[in-house]
């Protein structure tokens, strides 16, 4: 894993992406890049196309136009399985955990793509399968410690409070050892304390593991604090792109947030 902020290597680049659903245009001709090791925020008013953008990046939505360059390879669209097995992991705006499974099992599913032993070994639960299970379990326990969720290890996630579920979902994404982590509003609906914890986790993941992060967030304080660069979408178009300070000073951004000049 990359341990340093190189700052200039581009990990992912989207070129002229346009996406529409029937008559509704969700994204219109948007291009930006994400550099290795940075925290990249995507902001914008409701319905601006932020979540759709993440869905394009990990292959859930297929754009009508444009292309995506990831790790130097350009393709017109990503496939979910390809994205997952090549280091893109994500969390969802509406938590998408496996409700019937425990915290531990949920996070273990994050390691599915790197586990290989076949079903016969598993049925015997012996030799290679046991060894594999133990190794991955150990890895997952590190994540559990890191996120401070030891106490809920065996709890079915459906019974956890909202803030905890968000944390488990982050754990599941981290379990895949992603190179690029996509977080869709990881702090939405949290109280101040929970938000602070989550901010700390995001920063730690970025610093300790060198994971590149793309993050959607509505809380401007958080965005300005933790992100290296910010891209702003409004009505599916990119209206600004730069450091937090540059973006904050941008008149279009101020207008978009105040709801003027949508002519």
């Amino acid at each position: 894993m990359n341990q340093e902020h190189t700052g200039n290597d581009v990990l992912l680049e989207v070129h002229n992406i346009s996406l529409s659903f029937g008559g509704v245009t969700a994204i219109e001709d948007v291009s930006f890049d994400i550099r290795t090791g940075e925290i990249r925020a995507i902001i914008g008013p409701n319905g601006a196309g932020k979540s759709s953008m993440l869905n394009v990046i990990n292959g859930f939505y297929h754009p009508q136009q444009g292309s995506i360059t990831y790790k130097g390879e350009t393709r017109p669209q990503m496939k979910p399985h390809h994205a997952a097995s090549h280091g893109i992991a994500r969390t969802f705006q509406n938590i998408a955990l496996f409700k019937g499974m425990s915290t531990l099992d949920n996070i273990m599913t994050g390691r599915n793509t790197v586990m290989t032993k076949n079903i016969i070994w598993q049925a015997l639960y012996f030799g290679p399968a046991l060894k594999e299970e133990r190794e991955h379990r150990e890895f997952v326990e590190h994540i559990i410690d890191f996120l401070e969720i030891q106490a809920i290890r065996k709890t079915p996630v459906g019974r956890l409070p909202y803030g905890m579920q968000k944390r488990v979902e982050l754990g599941r994404a981290l379990a895949a050892e992603p190179d690029l982590l996509l977080l869709d509003e990881p702090m939405a609906g949290m109280n101040v304390e929970e938000k602070e914890d989550m901010c700390r986790f995001v920063l730690d993941v970025n610093e300790e593991f060198g994971t590149t992060i793309a993050l959607i967030e509505h809380d401007m304080g958080v965005v300005m604090d933790i992100s290296d660069r910010v891209v702003v979408l409004d009505y599916g178009k990119k209206i600004a792109d730069g450091t937090p300070d540059e973006v904050r000073a941008n008149q279009d951004v101020v207008d978009a947030y105040l709801g003027v000049s949508h002519g």
Binding site: F98, K99, M101, N112, K117, I119, R134
Partner: protein
């Protein structure tokens, strides 16, 4: 009984990952196995084996199979009877074509044949879900039974339309046919069920089991984190059908001895096994056994109680049985979708804190 999880701390992941992390559970299961293998064979007679033990074991294996598919992977199937028929007919064809083949191999091969058929009928699950999938598997049920009934080759052109299991020895002991002893038939089935219950438990707590449950709980999220729906669903159909095929093989070969396709493998079988896992507990290995035990024992207990005890007419008793079953299904679907297994777990949690509930 002191039943406590508290205070048993695990110092290694190995210990924590053990199949039954709680000591009392381990003792309980070992006790049940000891009684089942070493105790029951001593007193078992042909009434007990035919009325209770063999149906219980065959249905437990079928319920386990269906539970892997429906309870763990979330794919509803009404084709259980048809898949049991595949297992039974595979056994019949194999044993009559190759009388020298070891019956253990025959049962395993019957499972494998059923797995292949199951995967074929599981293909629609990649496109359709829930109710529509249930209807597709229902079609499999009717098609398979119709096929076995219609095509003489499957029946070895038997004039009665029945298939009959020949007497077969395993390691010098007769396990099928009228001259096999109750204990031998029982132990043969029990060994399969015990072994494959263990295998099922192992599968569901590993990678494959987690990918099934992920598909069950939220298939889109599962796909986005890199679980292939195709592999997960089809492996669930394959493993499930493998179990159900072996169950059909034991059901016909060891329990019934002879069978007529429509009667033995009709849609009632599909529903019966489905009810077993609903009552026993969806997504629970233990639940499959509890459900099978419950559905095998309930009619017998009810009949003994009402007909012999209260002198109620047999027909009335049958009606009461069916009504009671309906009520129970509705109760479990609404109140406790995790069935008897979950009730058992709640009881354990209560006992864990007993006598101080705080």
């Amino acid at each position: 009984m002191f039943y406590r999880e508290a205070g048993q701390f695990k110092s290694s992941y190995n210990a924590d990952q053990a199949i039954l992390p709680i000591a009392q559970d381990r003792v309980f299961v070992i006790g049940v196995l000891a009684v089942a293998f070493a105790g029951v064979p001593w007193f078992i007679d042909s009434y007990w084996v035919n009325a209770i033990f063999l149906p219980f074991l065959a249905y437990a294996l079928a319920a386990l199979g269906l539970n892997l598919l429906t309870g763990y992977c979330g794919q509803v199937s009404l084709g259980t009877g048809g898949f049991m028929a595949v297992g039974a007919f595979a056994t019949f064809k194999l044993i009559t074509a190759f009388p020298e083949l070891n019956l253990i191999i025959v049962v395993l091969l019957s499972g494998a044949v059923t797995a292949a058929v199951g995967v074929m009928f599981g293909l629609p699950s990649l496109r359709i879900k829930g109710f529509y999938l249930a209807v597709a598997t229902l079609a499999a049920q009717f098609f398979l039974v119709w096929l076995f009934n219609k095509v003489g080759w499957f029946l070895n052109y038997s004039p009665t339309g029945q298939i009959t299991m020949p007497s077969v020895e395993v390691f010098g002991v007769l396990v099928t046919g009228p001259r096999a002893t109750p204990a031998a038939r029982y132990l043969f089935c029990l060994s399969f069920v015990a072994l494959f219950a263990l295998a099922a438990k192992n599968i569901v707590r590993g990678r494959v089991g987690r990918s099934w449950m992920a598909i069950r709980d939220m298939d889109i999220a599962a796909e986005l984190i890199g679980i292939r729906p195709l592999a997960a669903k089809l492996s669930a159909f394959a493993v499930s059908s493998f179990y159900i095929g072996m169950a059909g093989s034991l059901y016909f070969g060891v329990w019934l001895g002879s069978a007529e396709p429509i009667e033995a493998f009709g849609i009632e079988q599909s529903f019966l096994v489905l009810f077993m896992i609903i009552i026993g507990g969806l997504g629970s290995v233990l639940g499959s056994f509890l459900g099978a035990a419950f559905m095998t024992l309930m009619p017998i207990v009810l009949k003994n109680f009402m007909v012999d005890g209260l002198a109620v007419e047999v027909v009335t008793a049958k009606h009461v049985e069916i009504t009671l079953m309906g009520v129970l299904i509705i109760f479990f679907l609404i109140v406790e979708p995790h069935g008897l297994a979950r009730m058992w777990q709640i009881l354990k949690e209560k006992l864990r804190l007993w006598p101080f509930p705080y």
